[in-house]
């Protein structure tokens, strides 16, 4: 059975392009254009993996959403795809214990990531 990937981004173009890529990898997709819509989706659907934007309704929407998804489905891998790190110089290293506690993401990716790299990362997280 095809795995389902939840993609959340408030940039409709990025959302469309990400959906296209992920479907080309052979997955089903569900999309949401923000934290709120995503929250209502996860009430009824358990995705196999989630790709979240960081800054949506608020600057940390991605983190909040990641936290909520992990609380409902602790085993669902989460990728936070962001352009934030590069621009702000803020780097999130989820490998330190302190950050692991509050950043509930399995992986951070730069939004400009190449399709083949993205596919590899998704497969790794889904253990395919």
């Amino acid at each position: 059975m095809k795995k389902t990937i939840l993609i959340v981004d408030d940039d409709m173009d990025y959302l469309f392009q990400m959906k296209l890529k992920v479907e080309q990898f052979g997955f089903d997709t569900i999309t949401a254009d923000g934290q709120k819509e995503a929250e209502s989706i996860i009430e009824t659907v358990r995705p196999d993996l989630a790709i979240l934007d960081l800054m949506m309704e608020s600057d940390d929407s991605g983190f909040i959403l990641a936290y909520k998804i992990k609380r409902m489905y602790p085993d669902v891998p989460i990728i936070i795809a962001t352009a934030v790190t590069a621009e702000t110089g803020i780097t999130f290293d989820i490998n330190t214990d302190e950050n692991k506690q509050w950043i509930k993401a399995d992986l951070f990716l730069d939004k400009g990531i190449r399709a083949d790299q993205l596919q590899r990362e998704i497969n790794k997280l889904l253990k395919i």
């Binding site: 173009d13 392009q17 352009a83």
Partner: protein, 375 residues
């Protein structure tokens, strides 16, 4: 667990040892602090040694006896003051003359603890100092962050500029790889979206230029007697094609000239921003009404729309840089998020006021009040 360094400067070993013992297991907490503060005690038997330790260890608090074998405590205090060190100094002294107390206070001593002191006296004094120091440092930190706002602005800006480039690049790649075949009509939506993002970027750049003009210190203002009604008309003509496209009618309800002292470019920016918002956040078949009043020495510009309106909560964030109201109704509306912060800055330059009234799904009215005489 945070810790503050306390330097005890006293030639009496008993005082130094006693202080060390009293502070050993003492912790201070405060509702605003998310952790306890404990103390590391450093000791100096003379003023000379104290200065050496101060330079090397940078203590947070100094408990300072005045009567010392070499240089006096007050000289250590002067040294700390001269170096502008961020250290709280407390004088501990058995014979505090009024003269010394006055001088020490003037040199920045925070408190006096009479010698001999009980453990309780020392602890309560340190508790107060710690809280004071904590709050002071917190304030300093926040001020510094205020200076970071400029940096944050640039960060967000680069994000806002990069997002459309990424989007357009993504579409171009799809087209380049002919992912939807050879027929160009299959790519129509992507081409439309790319054009939309480009136009969004262009308006962001235009807004930025306006903002830079306003923010680059003293703006070059070309103050002259201008007819506000005429400028509103120019702005209306600029916006008309956009309004037609959105099926919104714009009415300039004031016909007679209204004169004021102003820079016509700036007044035009005000109208352009207000009218374009009124059109942008309107409904199909909606209308925009512009009124200009002059009573006494005040000019009132009013732009009312029959648009989607906004909630009180949305209203409160309206004038911040890059804030755009995000809800399902605004989903397909693009903008830089700078328009209203530019408007606010201009209005402030004229010592004017902005008032916003809005009812969701019924419309929004912006009222700008400006002094007519700005000479």
């Amino acid at each position: 667990m945070a810790s503050y360094k306390v330097l005890v400067v006293d030639d009496e070993m008993g005082i130094r040892m006693g202080t060390r013992r009293i502070l050993q297991n003492f912790k201070v907490d405060y509702p605003f602090m998310d952790e306890h503060i404990e103390y590391i005690v450093l000791e100096a038997p003379t003023g000379e040694e104290a200065i050496e330790i101060i330079d090397r260890e940078m203590p947070d608090i100094i408990l300072l006896d005045n009567k010392l074998p070499g240089i006096q405590g007050i000289e250590v205090l002067e040294y700390v003051k001269k170096k502008l060190y961020d250290i709280v100094v407390v004088m501990i002294t058995s014979y505090a003359s009024l003269e010394l107390a006055v001088k020490a206070t003037r040199d920045g001593a925070y408190d006096f603890i009479p010698k001999p002191f009980t453990p309780q006296e020392l602890r309560s004094s340190l508790e107060n100092i710690t809280k004071q120091l904590f709050l002071k440092r917190m304030t300093q930190k926040m001020n510094k962050e205020g200076r970071l706002i400029r940096f944050q602005f640039l960060s967000v800006l680069s994000h806002e500029l990069k997002a459309p480039i990424n989007a357009i690049e993504g579409y171009l790649k799809i087209m380049h790889e002919k992912q939807f075949g050879d027929n160009i009509t299959s790519y129509k939506d992507m081409i439309d979206r790319s054009l939309e993002r480009i136009s969004g970027m262009r308006s962001l750049i235009m807004d930025l230029l306006d903002l830079t003009k306003i923010e680059s210190g003293k703006p070059v203002q070309h103050m002259q007697s201008v007819d506000i009604t005429k400028i509103a008309g120019i702005s209306l003509d600029t916006m008309r094609p956009y309004a037609i496209q959105k099926d919104v009618d714009i009415y300039l309800n004031t016909k007679e000239p209204v004169m004021m002292e102003a820079d016509p470019k700036e007044i035009e920016i005000i109208f352009n921003n207000l009218i374009s918002n009124a059109v942008k956040y309107n409904k199909q078949g909606g209308r925009v009404d512009i009124f200009i009043h002059k009573d006494n020495n005040k000019i009132r510009l009013q732009v009312a729309d029959s648009g989607i309106g906004m909630t009180e909560e949305e209203k409160s964030t309206l004038f911040q840089d890059f804030v755009r109201i995000k809800n399902p109704k605004t989903k397909h509306i693009t903008g830089s998020g700078l328009g209203l912060s530019i408007l606010k800055k201009i209005v402030e330059m004229y010592h004017g006021d902005i008032d916003v009234e809005s009812i969701p799904d019924q419309g929004t009215t912006f009222t700008i009040t400006l002094p007519a005489d700005n000479s």
